[in-house]
């Protein structure tokens, strides 16, 4: 398996892990409905459980983007043999794409970067600024579509 595919696997592994976490979140919500003090013996309160559920998708989008960024930087360093560290915007928009990338593919991935930045700085602001924010599935689709256009000769 080439390195591009390995990194794609890592990105999709985070997406699968989110599905598992989402199921756990549903179980927790059910548990809290019957027993609001379920977490008290474990040093957390009901509101912490609610926040966990509400922020779960944002948490995993941030994590998935971190894997995407690590993969892209590894590509830049080891396949393009560059020792520079451009910003992610520069990397995603200009430094890496060639004629294999459609402009929509580039914009789609960069939209996830912008959304992730909003999430990192202020989750509430991100929700207010973008009511139709990304689902985990959509973010994965966009990041994987971009990554899949990298050179498969990356070993």
């Amino acid at each position: 398996m080439n390195r591009r595919q390995q990194w794609l696997e890592r990105i999709t592994a985070v997406a699968r892990e989110y599905l598992a976490a989402n199921t756990a979140s549903e179980l927790l919500r059910t548990e809290l409905e019957g027993n609001p003090r379920f977490g008290s013996g474990r040093d957390w309160e009901r509101r912490d459980g609610v926040a966990f559920s509400e922020n779960l998708q944002a948490t995993y989008i941030i994590r998935m983007y971190a894997v995407f960024e690590a993969g892209l930087r590894a590509y830049w360093r080891t396949h393009r043999n560059r020792d520079t560290r451009p910003s992610m915007e520069q990397l995603v928009r200009h430094a890496i794409p060639n004629q294999l990338f459609s402009q929509d593919c580039i914009d789609d991935a960069d939209d996830v970067r912008e959304y992730r930045n909003l999430l990192v700085h202020d989750i509430d602001e991100a929700r207010a600024a973008n009511p139709a924010s990304f689902t985990m599935a959509e973010a994965r689709r966009r990041l994987c579509s971009y990554f899949a256009r990298l050179d498969p000769g990356w070993q």
């Binding site: 004629q99 294999l100 459609s102 402009q103 929509d104 580039i106 973008n130 000769g153």
Partner: protein
């Protein structure tokens, strides 16, 4: 260097991206959807004469007369609608409505100008691949592929399956808008991750990117011989 015609198209494309954000999703009875939509409409960031500042009518001189004239009128109307908005204040509802109407017409006219030309260019390249394949006694089969692009919406282009010496190759259109090119196809061998890019430069000529990887490869004009070279290169990568 990006020609002015392409800069104009990219500016309109960027405006389409701005125009579709933010999507107003209302799922609460407590929020007034109409009021929110109105608020967002006032943030008509794309409603600016800059959107069409690179438009040069002569760049589109090769278009059929009716399409060229429609594009001219649409650009003029948009320019006028955008110029009516003060750069320091949000557009009024009336200005916004006029701007949205002019913008719809502009996008419609651009699609009329771009899609047929791009389809014709793509058709020519597929025909050449068919002709050359026949000369080497490779069987081919045509298919269609639906493409969706921000500026052009949904449209279909031909893609070609080539059975060459027991291997299957797919020549598949990717998009009209790409960095540094005005249209591209993938040439891929199945099953493999390897792809060769066939793209149209701003000089309207088609080129193949041959060789290992994006930094070490080189480009070759799209010819009968370079097509064969790309097929051989993909075969070697299997």
């Amino acid at each position: 260097m990006t020609p002015s015609s392409e800069k104009f198209l990219l500016d309109v494309r960027q405006a389409v991206r701005l125009a579709r954000q933010p999507a107003v999703a209302i799922d609460s009875d407590l929020l007034d959807g109409d009021r929110l939509t109105d608020t967002f409409q006032r943030a008509l960031l794309w409603l600016t004469p800059k959107c069409v500042e690179h438009y040069v009518p002569d760049d589109f001189a090769d278009l059929p007369k009716d399409i060229r004239e429609e594009l001219d009128r649409a650009v003029a109307e948009f320019r006028e609608a955008a110029a009516a908005v003060s750069p320091d204040e949000p557009a009024t509802t009336k200005q916004g409505e006029r701007g949205i109407e002019a913008f719809r017409w502009l996008v419609h006219s651009v699609r009329h100008a771009v899609v047929p030309e791009w389809r014709e260019a793509a058709e020519r390249v597929v025909q050449e691949a068919e002709t050359w394949s026949a000369e080497w006694e490779w069987r081919t089969r045509r298919d269609t592929k639906e493409i969706r692009e921000t500026l052009l919406g949904r449209y279909e282009l031909p893609q070609l399956l080539v059975y060459a010496e027991q291997d299957l190759y797919v020549i598949s259109p990717i998009a009209r808008f790409l960095p540094g090119a005005k249209g591209a196809f993938d040439i891929a061998i199945q099953p493999s991750f390897s792809i060769t890019s066939l793209y149209r430069d701003f000089d309207d000529r088609w080129y193949l990117h041959l060789g290992p990887g994006p930094s070490e490869g080189h480009r070759e004009p799209w010819t009968r011989e370079s097509f064969k070279a790309s097929v051989e290169e993909l075969k070697a990568a299997l």
